[in-house]
């Protein structure tokens, strides 16, 4: 008797668990959803110590191998600079971005003698590790984009000392 009832009872129990048959909410975790399964209550789990995530080594190699500086890299560098750096460093790199205007301590201008003499590696390392009150941007800016930003900072530095006479073809485009 028990055996004969077991299957229907199990089936009934399983079915009663599915109160949503529309499949609107499925029994899986999506990005950043609450997850009772884990102690910290979220699907997003920090990596255990010592774990090397997929892609980490490739990412690391992009930190060491500097990309070739060309127009494409500079264009990408400008875009990333405008997104992540300009709020504090300003669009021209003078250290007068909108967040500084709201009271954030002003960063040094890129156009001073110390930072004009600083190595490309210095800028890369500051983006990666942060410096003073500046937080690390390692999680926000990919290593190859960091090199793009460094290249663009060099372009900004040049722009402040450029002679119009050196680039006659640009003269026509100046206001």
């Amino acid at each position: 008797m028990i055996e004969r009832l077991a299957i229907p009872i199990c089936a009934a129990l399983l079915l009663s668990a599915c109160d949503d048959v529309s499949m609107t909410q499925q029994n899986r975790y999506r990005t950043f959803t609450r997850a009772a399964l884990f102690d910290n209550g979220t699907e997003a789990q920090p990596l255990p110590d010592g774990v090397v995530a997929q892609g980490d080594l490739r990412r690391q190699s992009r930190s060491v191998q500097r990309p070739q500086v060309n127009a494409e890299l500079l264009k990408r560098g400008r875009e990333r600079y405008d997104i992540y750096c300009s709020p504090c460093h300003g669009l021209s790199g003078s250290g007068d971005g909108v967040v500084v205007q709201r009271g954030f301590p002003a960063p040094p201008s890129y156009h001073g003698s110390r930072l004009r003499a600083a190595s490309a590696q210095h800028f890369f390392d500051v983006i990666t590790n942060g410096h003073g009150v500046m937080f690390s941007y390692a999680a926000r800016v990919d290593p190859s984009d960091r090199w793009g930003i460094v290249a663009y900072i060099r372009a900004l530095q040049e722009s402040q000392r450029a002679n119009v006479a050196d680039t006659p073809e640009l003269r026509t485009r100046l206001p």
Partner: protein, 174 residues
């Protein structure tokens, strides 16, 4: 409609007022399905120095101190049977405000589009009505020019947007 959030985060202030780019916080929007919700560290990049004692930001400081994420309430919900990927939309010239509305004017974030199947399909049938140049995708002030229909068709060709497959079931249900 807005939802009660642990912190009354204002896109109006951060985007409309300060002019921060969407990608400053939503870092994975160009490369993943999920646009990315910033870690507390991103908030504290500025708020370690600005509004450091504001009561409003107490949950942010507590989150950093206790290493516990801020539990934001999701505003835009899709049913689990819908596949949606931010990165492909951004790559093909669909702007943030096309779906998220005038986010730069929202003091509290609200859902701006109905997110119904009809609404998705309208655009998948006629993307030329919405497409914009890639460099305008993150511009919250962009509005369609008078020749949008022609511009949209030109961008469809340029970005290889093929309408004949955009309404396949498996595009959104996979």
């Amino acid at each position: 409609m807005t939802r009660n959030q642990p912190v009354p985060f204002s896109h109006e202030h951060h985007v409309g007022g300060l002019g921060l780019d969407c990608r400053y916080c939503h870092t994975s929007v160009e490369k993943a399905r999920f646009a990315g919700l910033p870690p507390t560290e991103t908030c504290m990049t500025c708020h370690s120095q600005l509004w450091t004692n504001a009561e409003m930001l107490a949950p942010v400081r507590a989150s950093l101190a206790r290493n516990t994420p801020i539990a934001w309430q999701r505003v835009n919900r899709l049913p689990d049977y819908v596949y949606f990927d931010h990165s492909i939309h951004v790559a093909k010239g669909v702007g943030c405000t096309t779906c998220h509305g005038p986010i730069d004017q929202m003091r509290l974030t609200r859902q701006a589009a109905p997110l119904t199947m009809q609404w998705c399909i309208d655009c998948h049938r006629s993307p030329q009505k919405a497409l914009r140049p890639r460099d305008a995708v993150f511009d919250p002030k962009w509005s369609p020019p008078q020749n949008q229909e022609a511009l949209g068709r030109k961008l469809m060709a340029e970005y290889h947007v093929r309408v004949d497959h955009l309404t396949d079931c498996s595009i959104c249900h996979r």
